[in-house]
């Protein structure tokens, strides 16, 4: 820096700028100047070049883009003299990324510096490669860097940099840097006396064992020895102690390395380690000096983590909990923070929850800590430790805290309170109380699924209904209520307020006027719910009240011309229904019970942050004990309202007569949706299916808007044509001019059915083919639902299954004729003989009038249906993983062209195929480890283990390792997962079938009994 006056002047100028604008002007001027000088490089002295490059870095740091001069910076690396070379190296590693083209130009110089005899240059080069070295550096430099690290003639200063440089190259390109045989070398490096080299080598070891601890067992005792040496403070040079603690960094790194080994088998090593750990746990006190505290507790908390990892004896665990209990009450905020965090981790350890519960009062106090970071940790811990015994206390504390909590925490807080209330409610009325309080106190932060869920519970529990109705009435009586409260109140009062009718203030009229008061204050999404409530209140008013009726009809009338289609449709329909008299009672009858389903809230809780330790602990315990109070009845739904695609909707399409009645002049929207299908349908008495439209938003999953839409499709069958033409990958083959086109995308339907067990496989204007499947081990039972949508019979119905070699499929007799508007069920038995990804095909044909329709449909009896998720613990996983050592039982492949997705999404994808993520087994957070059981006749139940290593810097590639006891299974499962991960180009759109000449039928070209060929035809 000496003598760079120009630079100092420039910095002073920038500092003197009064505002951002001035600063920008000054910087633009400087950039212009530098750019000009670089253009006429001839006259530039090395000193000037250096000065300008420093200026560039300074400007860059201030946040201004410097899009030139990179070449000059890189070229300084080749300068013969130290000062220029140093600037070149430093600035290059700040400005350029590893893939920058200019870096390639420097590789030779860098290599010369590394293998040269000048240690100063060696250090500069190693530092830069250690910071930004990419693939090409790894390819050309890794062996040289390895040599430096191992060289005995090299001094520690160079060797420790070489270790970290190698680490970077290895981490970025594990496929390029060859570490075969490194176990011995690492073990040798761990004997190093110099603590600097040892620290770097330990970092390198952590990277190596995190990838494959198998190869490095020989390093384990050495790590214990190093730890022993440091912790006992044996011959550690004074300069390597920090506030009296022997290099806390090395101690911490060593204990981290040990955590990558699943267990320590050698009794001597284990005993030595536990002695050291015991010494650390017991010998650490909180002292006055903050820095000393931080250092000693860094070691202590790492020791705690290692103890937890090693699953020590209960006595030692209790000791740890006791220590943590002490920590969460100390004055030092850092230690309080880490105490809470580690207690949350501790929840994973079995048998200590009860000891942790003793500290509940202190943890609740931490919820009021002045430090938001500590409050968050306290919230996480309370959430994790909650169970049926303490749910009431904890949730009530959370509710209380909600009013004073930071804005940033409220959403998380209310979600967590809702989840806990649901999971651990001692009784249902308490649960209702909690959710209503949440909505009242933090309405803005209550997502829809929270109030959907409470409605679901109330609907399914008759005893709860009057209570809930009375409760919401209390809330809605208040002058200012949150809109979400209006929604939930409107729904519950609409359904159940008649149960309160005898109570004072609860007559239909009064309920209506309380609700109607809110209408002017709510948004368009709430109005439809209010309208439904009015209709229901009206229906329940017995004997009819003329005044109320005219009031409500007037409202419907008013909204008949509403611009919002949802509101308009409801107004129109309700008005028409009301005029139908008795029919109203049928249609507006009480909602049927919801089928039992997993709470979307709890699902959310499980999948979000699925890979953090805390979450997995919670998940684990959630499986162990949940409240019995909230078992939703498992009554089969009476209609399709509750599950957007259930078999229920396969009941024949019934279009409510009111839509097509002549007196409905304002139903433009509804009428315009009619297509050929519905116009053929005779008016039918309105069916209960309409309810699913009316109450659409109550389907619990998915945003309400989308749900309404899809349900509307499903029920009325009117809108299907919008996407019917698009993307159908399969050409419908027919004998005569094709007028039949599938509704919906066959390919998408198939893919959806690969993930779930019931839904629509195929639909066209005449027929709907639904499927419902049950899988047990290697057996499957499917039922095909063939529904004739017309008033005329479908004849010449034929269904032939073309099974692939690995499946035995038996289809029961399919009737030749399907009567008008009838549905026939055809059971289908499937036996999985051996692993394969081949797919069975259903060759289906029928005749309607003169139209012969023939479709070939893939059946969703795919590989993943024979998988069952299984949670494998570390003790089960690692021996199995080790015992299957290589091909063909264990296969590894680097997959490129992966559809980029965040890790949790990939985890979800795997779970959806019944491949269960085992969180915590792989310490590297960028990796996924998963397990599943595959069932087939030949393999029986067979455990499959999966490991996916991703590169956060490049989401388009990953490395996948699969193992199982059967080579075909390993291969097929690997290919299967690969297919799901890589981005498949969308299937080309089939030519418009009507354009195809009738003679050019694809079907004759396909040998009728060769499923593989048919499949090839389907997929081409």
């Amino acid at each position: 820096m000496h003598g760079m006056r120009g630079l100092s002047v420039f910095i002073s100028d920038i500092r003197n700028c009064q505002n951002k604008e001035q600063e920008r002007l000054r910087i633009d001027k400087e950039l212009g100047n530098v750019r000009n000088r670089f253009k006429n490089e001839k006259g530039l002295t090395p000193y000037e070049k250096k000065k300008y490059v420093w200026k560039m870095l300074y400007i860059f740091m201030l946040g201004y883009d410097v899009d030139f001069g990179h070449m000059e910076a890189v070229s300084l690396i080749s300068a013969p003299k130290y000062p220029e070379k140093q600037v070149g190296y430093i600035v290059t590693s700040c400005l350029l990324n590893e893939n920058h083209d200019f870096l390639r130009l420097a590789i030779n110089t860098v290599r010369n510096d590394i293998i040269g005899r000048n240690e100063t240059f060696q250090c500069l080069a190693l530092t830069m490669v250690g910071n930004i070295g990419g693939r090409e550096f790894a390819e050309s430099l890794a062996p040289d860097v390895q040599k430096l690290l191992l060289s005995s003639s090299c001094r520690p200063l160079v060797r420790k940099k070489a270790a970290l440089c190698l680490l970077r190259l290895y981490r970025k390109n594990p496929d390029v840097v060859n570490v075969d045989g490194w176990a011995d070398r690492m073990a040798q490096l761990l004997d190093e006396r110099d603590l600097g080299v040892l620290t770097s080598s330990m970092s390198l070891l952590v990277a190596l064992v995190s990838n494959n601890h198998e190869a490095y067992w020989s390093c384990l005792p050495k790590c214990v020895k190093i730890l022993d040496r440091l912790a006992r403070n044996q011959d550690v040079p004074q300069e390597y102690t920090y506030y009296g603690i022997p290099s806390p960094w090395l101690q911490v790194k060593t204990m981290r390395a040990l955590q990558y080994f699943p267990t320590i088998e050698d009794p001597y090593t284990r005993r030595t380690l536990f002695e050291v750990l015991q010494r650390i746990l017991m010998g650490t006190d909180v002292v006055k000096n903050v820095n000393k505290n931080n250092a000693s507790h860094a070691v202590l908390f790492e020791a705690l983590a290692l103890v937890m990892h090693l699953d020590a004896e209960k006595e030692m665990m209790s000791q740890c909990v006791a220590l943590l209990g002490k920590f969460i009450a100390v004055r030092e905020p850092n230690i309080r923070y880490l105490g809470l965090e580690n207690m949350t981790r501790m929840l994973m350890v079995t048998d200590v929850q009860d000891i942790i519960k003793r500290h509940q009062a202190q943890i609740i106090t931490s919820l009021k800590d002045p430090d938001v970071s500590i409050r968050r940790r306290a919230l996480d811990l309370l959430y994790g430790m909650c169970d049926v015994t303490n749910a009431k206390d904890i949730v009530e504390e959370l509710l209380q805290y909600l009013s004073s909590a930071d804005f940033t925490m409220r959403e998380e807080l209310s979600l967590k309170a809702a989840i806990l209330a649901e999971k651990f409610a001692p009784d249902l009325s308490w649960y209702v109380d909690v959710i209503l309080q949440l909505i009242d106190k933090a309405g803005d932060f209550i997502s829809d699924d929270i109030w959907f869920r409470v409605v679901q519970f109330v609907t399914n529990n008759d005893d709860l209904q009057p209570y809930a109705a009375a409760k919401v009435k209390e809330y809605i009586d208040k002058p200012a209520v949150h809109e979400t409260m209006v929604k939930v109140s409107a729904y519950i009062l609409g359904e159940y307020s008649h149960l309160l009718a005898r109570r004072p203030g609860c007559s239909p009229k009064e309920i209506f006027s309380i609700l109607h008061e809110k209408l002017p204050t709510v948004s368009t999404t709430t109005i439809p719910i209010l309208l439904s409530a009015y209709a229901k209140i009206l229906m329940h008013t017995q004997p009819p009240d003329q005044e109320l009726q005219s009031q409500i009809w007037a409202i419907f009338n008013k909204y008949e011309s509403c611009i919002d289609a949802e509101i308009q449709q409801r107004a129109v329909e309700y008005l028409a229904l009301c005029q139908k008299g008795a029919a109203l009672t049928d249609i507006l009858a009480e909602m049927p019970k919801f089928p039992e389903r997993k709470s979307s809230l709890i699902k959310r809780a499980e999948y979000s942050e699925a890979d953090t330790a805390e979450q997995s602990a919670i998940k684990l315990r959630a499986q162990q004990q949940t409240s019995n109070a909230l078992v939703v009845t498992d009554q089969i739904p009476a209609n399709g309202a509750t599950s957007p695609v259930s078999v229920g909707q396969l009941s024949l399409v019934k279009v409510p007569s009111l839509v097509t009645t002549e007196n409905d002049t304002s139903t433009d929207r509804a009428l315009s949706q009619q297509n050929g299908a519905s116009s053929k349908v005779d008016p039918q008495p309105p069916s209960a299916d309409l309810l699913s439209d009316i109450l659409g938003p109550l389907a619990i999953e998915g945003p309400p808007g989308a749900t309404v839409q899809s349900e509307h499709n499903a029920v009325s069958g009117l809108e299907g044509d919008s996407d019917a033409v698009d993307g159908s990958a399969i050409v419908v083959v027919e004998e005569q001019t094709n007028t039949v086109q599938p509704i919906g995308n066959i390919d998408e339907r198939f893919r959806a059915l690969c993930l779930k067990d019931s839904g629509v496989l195929y639909e066209d204007p005449y027929i709907q083919i639904g499927i419902k499947a049950e899988w047990r081990g290697h057996h499957g039972r499917l039922v095909l639902f063939l529904g004739n949508k017309n008033t005329a019979p479908l004849i010449s119905v034929q269904a032939i299954i073309l099974p692939p070699a690995q499946l035995k499929v038996e289809l029961s007799l399919v009737p030749d004729t399907i009567p008008p508007r009838a549905q026939v069920q055809c059971p289908l038995e499937v036996v999985n003989l051996r692993p394969s990804r081949d797919v069975a095909v259903l060759d289906f044909s029928y005749k309607f009038g003169t139209n012969m329709v023939n479709v070939k449909l893939r059946l969703p009896a795919v590989l993943n249906k024979f998988l069952q998720p299984i949670q494998v613990s570390a003790e089960e996983f690692f021996p199995q993983w080790r015992s299957l050592s290589g091909p063909p039982l264990k296969l590894q492949e680097v997959v490129r062209g992966v559809r980029p997705m965040p890790l949790p999404e990939m985890a979800n994808l795997l779970s959806s195929f019944h491949i269960m993520i085992c969180p915590g087994l792989d310490p590297n957070p960028n990796n996924l480890v998963a397990s599943t059981t595959f069932y087939s006749e030949s393999t029986r139940a067979m455990l499959c283990l999966v490991r996916i290593e991703t590169d956060p810097a490049d989401r388009t590639q990953l490395r996948m390792t699969l193992s199982s006891g059967d080579p075909t299974l390993t291969f097929e499962l690997k290919e299967f997962i690969k297919e799901q991960l890589i981005s498949i180009p969308t299937a080309p759109r089939s030519p418009a079938p009507s354009a195809a000449p009738p003679t050019a039928q694809p079907s004759p070209q396909i040998p009728p009994n060769d499923p593989a060929a048919i499949l090839a035809g389907l997929l081409s």
Partner: protein, 166 residues
């Protein structure tokens, strides 16, 4: 590994920013702004930890220390120990303090090339490299000498390059 080291003054101006995983400039600036936004609202006498995942994405942690007009911030992933990172901040600051005899913000502003040299001696590729501030000091002083007499460097044979000896 350590993902980033930042020094920001209490007005929000970056004084040093080094990212060990490449990020485009705008992203770097956005992160600096966001970190400052969180830190400037924190009272005194609270912990040195701040929730970082909302800023840096999953698997990131942040520790910081507040000195007079400066915040020193380390961002890292779960493979590092939080308190050890805090210790490393202390090493960095103590080294600067020795180097500049009672370091202040101005020293850092006008000597940022030296700061880079010091940082490169403490952290390499996001890993702890050296923790003895005396040793780092010695290296930096030697570099200053080399800068002052640039011609000398090529003459120093490997065996006698004085500043390298322990």
């Amino acid at each position: 590994m350590i993902k980033a080291v930042m020094v920001i003054n209490t007005q929000g101006k970056p004084r040093l920013a080094k990212f060990f995983e490449y990020l485009p400039l705008e992203k770097q600036q956005e992160l600096i702004r966001n970190v400052f936004g969180v830190l400037c609202s924190r009272p005194e006498n609270v912990s040195n930890f701040v929730e970082a995942e909302s800023i840096f994405g999953p698997d990131s942690r942040l520790v910081y220390k507040h000195f007079a007009t400066l915040y020193v911030i380390f961002v890292f992933d779960s493979s590092e120990n939080e308190l050890a990172m805090l210790d490393l901040i202390q090493v960095l600051v103590e080294t600067l303090d020795r180097c500049f005899k009672n370091v202040c913000e101005l020293d850092i502003v006008f000597n940022y090339s030296k700061i880079h040299t010091i940082l490169d001696d403490i952290i390499c590729g996001g890993q702890v490299l050296e923790t003895r501030s005396t040793e780092i000091m010695r290296a930096v002083e030697e570099i200053s000498k080399l800068e002052a007499a640039p011609n000398a460097i090529t003459l120093i044979p490997k065996s006698s390059s004085g500043w390298l000896s322990r």
